[in-house]
Symmetry: C2
């Protein structure tokens, strides 16, 4: 993160606007992320990756397979294994065998996990609102609208495509 291009490049002509918006996105994202990260640690003694996992699981009452989870979070398979391991130890997550497939496991929030996440999610919303308080709702919608056009064009999309 925090990529800073050399002046000779950041001043060059056709390339500039996208690189500049990218650097801006990076900076804002990093700022918000930092705030969320610190608050998660200070108030809940947890980490952003753990929060992300809980958030993903919270959306699926029936649980997710490990591979579905890593796909949802866009991280590697092996990554999720370790995080889930620790969440299981802490009693926030449960592993359930999948009927009829001994390879896969389903991962689900426990009651405790749901309750913990509910608190975190509420706090998370407050933190984000505080950091972005200077952005009026209309401005937010505008940014969302503009960024939504990425990957929407009929052309070949370099590697970026997704719903929502």
């Amino acid at each position: 993160m925090s990529v800073q291009l050399p002046d000779e490049l950041s001043a060059s002509s056709p390339v500039r606007p996208r690189v500049r918006v990218w650097l801006k996105l990076l900076k804002v994202t990093k700022n918000v992320e930092q705030v969320v990260r610190e608050n998660l640690r200070a108030e809940f003694d947890t980490t952003l990756p753990r929060f992300d996992v809980l958030a993903a699981l919270d959306r699926f009452d029936d649980g997710l397979k490990m591979s579905e989870l890593s796909a949802a979070l866009r991280v590697s398979n092996g990554n999720v294994t370790g995080i889930i391991e620790r969440l299981v130890i802490d009693g926030l997550v449960l592993r359930v065998p999948v009927a009829g497939d001994k390879r896969a496991t389903l991962v689900r929030l426990t009651q405790k996990g749901q309750e913990e996440f509910a608190k975190m999610a509420a706090a998370h919303a407050r933190w984000v609102n505080a950091v972005l308080e200077d952005l009026p709702p209309a401005a937010c919608e505008q940014v969302i609208g503009i960024l939504d056009t990425i990957g929407r064009a009929p052309k070949q999309t370099a590697k970026v495509d997704d719903n929502d």
Copy 2:
């Protein structure tokens, strides 16, 4: 990253727009970052953190102190130590003692480091342009303008303030 809020929250009223724009920023940023990361690995056999360090150093011919570097990158002090260590081993970066202060060290790009970074920076600009090709320059400027308002208000700025 990739925070997904529960429906009950992401649908709630006063909180929504900022959280939504935050999730959007996160998604776009993560996409671009992923592309840059993979390309750096595939084409230059290096990592994003290393690229970031080189980029920061490239802007200062006279070098940076370790603390200045970590401040510029917004990462912890200890973090930079390891990355610089490896960059020194690879001959891309040089450590120079600071005259009159035996505590500090100055870190600077070597000739090789400058040349390597120049190639990477050019490629980086191409990758970013490809990923964001659907964003017209005007849209980029618009997003930059809107996001620039963050931390600009006379109010107390929760933790976000910076130039550029």
